[in-house]
């Protein structure tokens, strides 16, 4: 069996499972946010049941439209807060105890290797980087879990992606996942698990691994998975108090497709509008002028990302035609960025530093694009109207390209501002 198969089997009292099977699985942690929780909570109330399955296994994160962008958002947040209080939910997060859910849960130690985690948010797949099975569903499924602690799942097939070789300068986890999405397309991993391995993955930091698993949904995958190793163990030891279970693919595990990459051939990539699969090397682009740069989100709002950005921005000024917005993913990251002096560098360079929130990533609030405007963003989606007006455009990139583009005024690599 594969890692995903083993985790699903362990959570459904089964010795074996095979792809295509439907079954009910027990959930270790369930997550919903200020967009998806209200519908789930309302459905739960409608059943008139008095008990939730387990108050310790429920996480609510208010992160999308917060600080409340309008009255409706405020009402949604209140509904969640009241539910959390009423049922004594152990893990409600907001304000300076919060941040963007998919950076927050690992940081708070709520994700463990071997866990089965279901979230009412499509990027729940991020946690696969820690060797957990994690996938996104909608609000009704969450209401079902609140009632029973279980979810129906169809066992996915697994597709294997192997990365070998050394990354070039200015290439990060973001570029590796963009490369795959570009190659297989936005439904290339439809309903499948993507299992990442190889020498390059073994040498990647946790944040870069999170970035990779975060975007498997952009290829239509159900989940991404990276087998736990020393880097995972060190990370978990620091944050998670539960005992992890480390699964490995069996030597005879079946993979429906195998892709192998020599990473040294991959250049920093940009996804052009309006699909994450429209991939081009940054070196191929002719001066595409931009109005805004967004750095942050559950994809690339990690401390490590902010350090990369600070290195590039230090002592420089953002182009006068560009608005640069920087969103650390969580308050803990924000505080560290502050104590390391990164925030100072950002502001001196002309950036606006925003609170940890989803904000512009989904065109919710803060940094909405006007008609015809163009943005470079370290987020994960560039669909039509994702960040504002239907005729605005979003280009996805890694944090280094985003930072150098902010200085240039067009989409370009750090080499163009004299960095090597």
């Amino acid at each position: 069996m594969t890692i995903t198969g083993k985790i699903i089997a362990a959570h459904s009292n089964r010795k074996n499972v095979s792809p295509g099977e439907f079954l009910m699985a027990k959930v270790d942690m369930v997550l919903a946010n200020d967009i998806t929780a209200p519908l789930a909570v309302k459905e739960f109330y409608a059943t008139k049941r008095k008990k939730i399955f387990n108050r310790n296994k429920i996480v609510f994160v208010l992160d999308h439209h917060v600080p409340n962008k309008d009255i409706n958002s405020a009402e949604n947040c209140r509904l969640i807060r009241e539910f959390a209080r009423k049922f004594k939910i152990a893990n409600p997060f907001e304000g300076s105890n919060g941040g963007i859910e998919h950076a927050l849960l690992p940081e708070k130690g709520l994700v463990n290797s071997g866990d089965l985690i279901i979230g009412a948010d499509s990027h729940t797949c991020t946690y696969g980087a820690l060797g957990a099975f994690a996938t996104g569903v909608g609000s009704t499924d969450i209401a079902g879990i609140l009632l029973t602690g279980e979810i129906w799942l169809k066992v996915p097939e697994t597709m294997q992606v192997i990365f070998n070789g050394k990354k070039r300068r200015w290439v990060y986890g973001k570029d590796l996942i963009l490369k795959i999405i570009g190659d297989i397309g936005v439904d290339g991993a439809h309903y499948k698990t993507i299992d990442f391995s190889g020498e390059t993955i073994e040498n990647l930091s946790m944040p870069e691994r999170f970035t990779i698993c975060n975007m498997v949904i952009e290829a239509g995958a159900k989940n991404g998975i990276i087998a736990a190793d020393e880097i995972t163990r060190t990370y978990l030891k620091k944050v998670c108090r539960r005992t992890p279970i480390y699964y490995k693919n069996d030597p005879d595990a079946h993979f429906c497709r195998v892709l192998e990459y020599d990473v040294s051939k991959i250049e920093p990539l940009v996804a052009l509008p309006h699909s994450p699969q429209n991939i081009k090397s940054v070196y191929e682009l002719n001066r595409i002028h931009i109005d805004q740069v967004v750095i942050g989100s559950c994809t690339n709002g990690w401390l490590e990302d902010l350090r990369i950005v600070a290195k590039i921005l230090k002592g420089k000024k953002v182009n006068k035609n560009v608005r640069l917005l920087i969103f650390p993913a969580t308050y803990q990251i924000y505080k560290k960025a502050l104590s390391e002096g990164l925030i100072q560098i950002f502001i001196d360079a002309g950036a606006v530093v925003c609170p940890p929130t989803c904000g512009p990533c989904l065109g919710g609030h803060l940094g909405i694009l006007a008609k015809g405007e163009r943005a470079v963003s370290t987020t994960n989606r560039n669909f039509i109207g994702r960040m504002g007006h239907p005729e605005s455009e979003v280009y996805l990139s890694n944090p280094a390209i985003a930072a150098s583009s902010a200085i240039l005024g067009w989409i370009g690599p750090p080499e163009e501002i004299g960095l090597k």
């Binding site: 009704t140 009632l147 029973t148 439904d187 039509i384 239907p390």
Partner: protein
């Protein structure tokens, strides 16, 4: 149950940000959500739809986010059935959970155009093109999902099958 209506055609990879932009996700009133359904690519879509109309789309319909507001907005427009070459998995789950019919019939796409009238017989399991009289079989759901549908949705299924706490 029989459904009759005209076809609204959409291409490949219709994502949830197009079905219902995120700036409206602070709304949970389905009627207001419906007013903004497909807004980025077809403004006023909901006012053009008549009850019983169907959406025919290409591959990967509903890709992107997990927002259940997407199938809810479509359903509240009056669309009861979406037929696509394929569906993104979260959208597929959500649609079944809230009672929007979703069928994968790849061959139907090239044989229909916008405005064609279709008759859908859910009981007998076929779809008929009103003019060409061509018939398409509605594929059966896996038995497990059929149980959920027969129970009247996920929550009723769980309430019936899960021991009361």
């Amino acid at each position: 149950m029989k459904i009759q209506g005209k076809v609204w055609k959409f291409g490949n990879d219709i994502d949830t940000d197009v079905i219902i932009p995120a700036r409206y996700l602070n709304i949970s009133d389905p009627k207001i959500l419906a007013q903004h359904c497909m807004e980025p690519i077809r403004p006023n879509f909901s006012s053009l739809v008549d009850k019983g109309d169907i959406i025919v789309a290409g591959k990967n319909f509903g890709c992107g986010s997990s927002r259940e507001h997407a199938p809810l907005a479509i359903k509240t427009c009056g669309i009861q059935v979406v037929i696509a070459k394929s569906f993104a998995r979260i959208f597929f789950r959500n649609a079944l959970n809230i009672g929007l019919w979703v069928f994968e019939i790849p061959e139907l796409y090239n044989l229909t155009k916008e405005g064609d009238r279709m008759i859908i017989d859910l009981k007998k399991g076929f779809i008929e093109h009103h003019t060409t009289k061509e018939k398409f079989t509605i594929p059966q759901y896996p038995a497990f999902l059929q149980q959920i549908i027969n129970s009247g949705g996920l929550i009723s299924y769980l309430l019936k099958n899960h021991r009361r706490k």
